[in-house]
């Protein structure tokens, strides 16, 4: 996608590898899982690990 998403647009499928401190292991985030479970999602971007958030 060349142009960034705008408000009101449906977000295309997202899949990212994760580290989950609760599970104490690696996993995957899939937006489709959120839709299937009817859950709200907050995506919180930050520049880099080992810096302030």
């Amino acid at each position: 996608m060349s142009e960034a998403l705008k408000l009101g647009q449906k977000v295309p499928e997202i899949e990212m590898e994760t580290y989950d401190p609760v599970q104490n292991g690696f996993g995957k985030f899939r937006l489709q899982d959120q839709l299937d479970r009817k859950r709200w999602t907050i995506l919180f971007f930050y520049p880099a690990d080992f810096t302030f958030v």
Partner: protein
């Protein structure tokens, strides 16, 4: 809280693990930390900085249908106010139930003054907020 928070940076999941386990400030972290090393997702949301390969401080709220409802982006040197994020999230939940109402800037939680736009309110927003 009724939603799932996922943090995203261009670091790998291995670095996320190392950071979370070494930084005491992150001992209580309860959300998954996602890896976007290619910048694909960061670009999708317009927060990828091509010069540095890093993601700017962007926060995005998606409803259960996957529609993007709010965005806030700060440059590297400004942190975010979590109270304002919570306010926006609560407002989204409320507005999903009350589709004819709108939440003004001072709205903080359910029970606070909302507005219901109508022909009568045109030019009378001041009176409607006071009423």
């Amino acid at each position: 809280m009724g939603c799932d928070i996922v943090t995203v940076s261009t670091d790998t999941k291995f670095v996320h693990l190392a950071w979370q386990r070494s930084e005491k400030e992150l001992a209580q972290v309860r959300f998954p930390m996602a890896a976007d090393p290619t910048g694909t997702v960061s670009r999708m949301f317009g927060v990828y900085d091509e010069k540095t390969g890093l993601a700017l401080r962007g926060t995005f709220i998606l409803n259960p249908e996957g529609v993007l409802l709010n965005s806030e982006v700060n440059f590297y040197n400004l942190g975010r106010n979590i109270e304002e994020l919570l306010r926006k999230f609560k407002a989204n939940l409320y507005l999903a139930k009350k589709t004819s109402e709108v939440c003004p800037s001072k709205w903080k939680e359910e029970g606070d003054k909302t507005l219901t736009p109508s022909p009568e309110m045109v030019g009378k927003v001041h009176e409607a907020l006071a009423g």
